[in-house]
């Protein structure tokens, strides 16, 4: 086959261009730290990479949601615990008042203490966190329980603000997974409505009134009722505790998933520095060799030797 000068030059240029292209590509990979600069670099890997990115964003969002949910649940649990304690105190005070040895004067003192605890329970039921009412359902800005007071300023009965108090507050903690994060004030403190059986406020008010009036039989009956009331609160509190556990567990799981997503992204996208540096070095050697050989060969021809 005849070899002409133009063939040699053309071949040389083509080869040098190819090597330069590769050098440029490796250089970009090293400088940016990413294997994939644009979709055509890895058409199969790109959709995977974007999907994993999306998944990671969702996981982070769910983690955030869970944090907020836990915040709400913790506040609920705290207030339920306080209410429990108050009710227990009332119970023990009431039992003290049952003793036949007390005078009306002493019973009146106990009644005052009970009244104080009643106010406390009302304030726990109307507790707020961050300006929002914990037991108000979706009606966050209005107090869920309204007290009706007598002339002396003491609570006679408590009614509910009906708007939203029975609604669930849900948080999204996973793909199509929502969890109810609130405890409905109505269910906890007045499950059958104001004034009916299970109305804790009514029970405590009744105990106070019985102590004042000296109605020991009524007091005893009311104290039994109060135990049921205490059960309501305790049950709800343990519900909340279970939810908190469940969310903590979900949080752990999400942490692991996030970690694995990061690994996947790294595998798909990050440059393997060792590999690329080696390739870059090799290409550079080839480049220099080609350049020097080319310049020497192309200049030579028979003309030089005549």
């Amino acid at each position: 086959m005849r070899i002409t000068q133009s063939m040699l030059t053309r071949q040389y240029l083509n080869d040098v261009t190819t090597i330069s292209e590769k050098l440029a590509k490796y250089q970009t990979q090293i400088a940016s730290g990413k294997k994939i600069e644009r979709p055509s670099d890895d058409p199969v890997g790109i959709p995977q990479l974007m999907t994993v990115n999306t998944n990671l964003a969702e996981i982070t969002q769910h983690q955030d949601n869970i944090k907020q949910a836990l915040y709400w649940l913790d506040s609920t649990s705290l207030n339920l615990g306080n209410a429990e304690d108050a009710i227990l105190e009332v119970s023990s005070l009431g039992n003290k008042g049952l003793s036949g040895l007390l005078t009306a004067e002493e019973r009146s003192v106990i009644a005052d203490q009970v009244d104080q605890y009643l106010e406390d329970v009302l304030s726990y039921a109307n507790a707020t966190v961050g300006g929002k009412y914990v037991f108000g359902g979706t009606q966050l800005d209005t107090a869920p329980f309204i007290a009706q007071r007598n002339a002396a300023g003491e609570i006679v009965s408590v009614s509910q603000n009906p708007n939203g108090i029975d609604q669930d507050i849900r948080r999204n903690i996973g793909a199509n997974q929502t969890v109810v994060v609130n405890s409905k004030g109505g269910t906890v403190f007045q499950p059958a409505g104001a004034g009916a059986g299970g109305d804790i406020f009514e029970m405590i008010a009744g105990i106070r009134d019985a102590l004042r009036s000296g109605d020991l039989a009524g007091l005893s009956a009311r104290l039994t009722d109060l135990d049921t009331g205490l059960d309501q609160v305790v049950r709800e509190n343990s519900n909340v505790g279970t939810k908190i556990n469940r969310l903590n567990f979900a949080q752990e799981r999400l942490n692991l998933q996030a970690l694995s997503s990061h690994e996947q992204i790294s595998a798909l996208q990050d440059t393997d520095y060792v590999e690329v540096l080696m390739k870059y070095q090799t290409q550079q050697n080839i480049f220099e060799t080609a350049l020097s050989l080319g310049s020497r060969l192309l200049q030579n021809s028979l003309v030089n030797y005549l």
């Binding site: 071949q11 644009r38 708007n163």
Partner: protein, 477 residues
């Protein structure tokens, strides 16, 4: 290449990340429905999403327009080359009529043909008289000394875009299948429109899905007045017909219009039904009738082909729920996005101006006579849209974008690069074969030169010897 740059994936400025942030903002609103900051942030993210989609759409359309310019230049060049080849044909015929071979002229003609081959596809036929005839798909581009020009057919109604390339003399379209002109035509008419269409599909899907859920929800308070976002072409045209001028059509069904009277703290419910064939006027009347039956408080009217709802006095506010007729969606009442495709997707001005109107909540009725600020059920429903198969082939928004758009883009771009590389190798090899026969090898020529030089010297010496011999002979005579 260019389209890849417009989409800018994978990067934090690409649509993938922006969509992630958009959905994330909905999560934030669902966590704090009464929080103004979360709502404002959502509006910003939605704006960025809509803006980016519009931007990519505009860039691709601009690319199409710029390809028109390229097309014009190349066609002019083709015509000029054809004319030159025709002229050379004439010269070659004249020169070779005497039996000589017009090497220089033929070389020039070959060079011109090479250039032409880069631009357009044609077949070559060498005639007996030395001229060369070029045909594009059977029609003659160059015949003897005549060159048939290519003309551009323009569409004056659409920004002077070029519609087609035709033969000037006959008006028939030119069948161009390869070459640079073929490539530009393919990009302009097939490739770019396909991606514009996919982006449109994505935008339409998002608009329709989000709006459908949003119209059934309620913001932090009811409306005092609301105008429809979309106008119809005529008030007496059927809303679900093809002449209505609406991008999305409603269907048989009904929606609930709730009117809250803050003076009496009651909410009345009006059911408004929509049947196929109803016009805007029919709808207005249906609303007014239903409202009056429910106790009044809101009046519907039409102005400049848009439906308006307004409260009768300061006590009344109104809101919607349970729309299975999609009327609210198609007219643009209580929607989140306005627009119908990638070129005009935007955030509805009503929501933009008052973030409190973002419908994160749903009206639950019953004992609730108020809208509950902690209710996030509508926001949660919008979030769940992300995992639903809302687009063709059961794809979710993300799958559609990742696989059908960006994935396909990557494959096509990759394929184009590979094919170009392959073609370059083939061209290089063919070039080598040409050079093999026609190129000049310095070594070969130099050795020939040495040979002839020696022969010349030898001949010269021979001449000297013959001259000396003749001299001797003449001296003797």
């Amino acid at each position: 290449g260019k389209i890849e740059l417009y989409f800018n994936e994978p990067s934090s400025a690409g649509l993938n990340s922006i969509m992630n942030e958009f959905w994330g903002a909905w999560h934030d609103v669902s966590n704090n429905p009464s929080d103004q900051t979360a709502r404002v942030a959502l509006l910003q993210q939605a704006d960025q999403f809509a803006g980016t989609v519009q931007d990519i759409d505009a860039k691709m359309n601009n690319l199409r327009l710029s390809l028109d310019n390229t097309l014009e230049q190349k066609v002019t060049y083709v015509n000029s080359l054809a004319t030159q080849i025709a002229a050379l044909n004439g010269q070659i015929i004249g020169y070779e009529a005497d039996g000589r071979v017009a090497n220089d002229l033929r070389d020039r003609r070959d060079a011109l043909q090479s250039e032409l081959a880069q631009l357009i596809n044609f077949s070559v036929n060498e005639q007996d008289n030395g001229s060369v005839a070029l045909f594009i798909d059977g029609e003659a581009l160059v015949w003897y000394t005549q060159a048939n020009a290519l003309a551009l057919e323009r569409d004056y109604s659409d920004e002077l875009t070029i519609r087609d390339i035709r033969w000037e003399f006959s008006g028939k379209p030119v069948n161009i299948s390869s070459g640079e002109i073929g490539g530009v035509l393919a990009a302009r008419d097939t490739i770019i429109p396909a991606y514009i269409q996919k982006l449109d599909d994505l935008a339409q899907g998002v608009i329709e899905a989000v709006n459908s859920v949003h119209t059934g929800g309620v913001g932090l308070s009811g409306f005092t007045a609301l105008s429809a976002d979309n106008a119809v072409s005529s008030d007496s045209e059927a809303l679900d017909g093809s002449n209505s001028g609406l991008a999305f059509a409603p269907q048989d069904g009904s929606f609930l219009l709730h009117i809250k009277n803050s003076a009496t703290n009651t909410v009345s419910d009006a059911t408004v039904a929509f049947s196929a064939g109803d016009t805007l006027e029919d709808l207005r009347d249906a609303i007014n009738t239903a409202v009056t039956a429910a106790g009044g408080g809101v009046t519907a009217s039409i102005s400049s082909h848009r439906l308006n709802l307004a409260h009768d006095s300061a006590n009344y506010t109104f809101f919607f729920s349970d729309d299975n007729s999609k009327v609210l969606n198609s007219l643009g009442l209580n929607t989140f996005f306005s627009g119908s495709d990638a070129s005009n997707i935007a955030v509805n001005a009503v929501v933009k101006n008052s973030p409190a109107m973002i419908a994160a909540a749903k009206y639950v009725g019953g004992t609730d006579t108020d809208i509950n600020p902690g209710d996030n059920s509508n926001a949660l429903e919008i979030i769940s849209l992300r995992s639903q198969a809302a687009l063709a082939d059961g794809a979710t928004f993300d799958t559609f974008y990742n696989t059908k758009l960006i994935g396909a883009l990557g494959v096509e771009a990759n394929q184009a690069t590979r094919m170009r590389e392959n073609q370059e190798i083939i061209v290089a090899q063919l070039q080598t074969r040409i050079d093999e026969s026609s190129g000049v090898s310095l070594d070969e020529e130099m050795s020939n030169l040495l040979q002839f030089q020696q022969a010349y010297i030898a001949a010269a010496k021979y001449m000297v010897v013959v001259g000396q011999a003749l001299d001797e002979l003449l001296r003797i005579i």
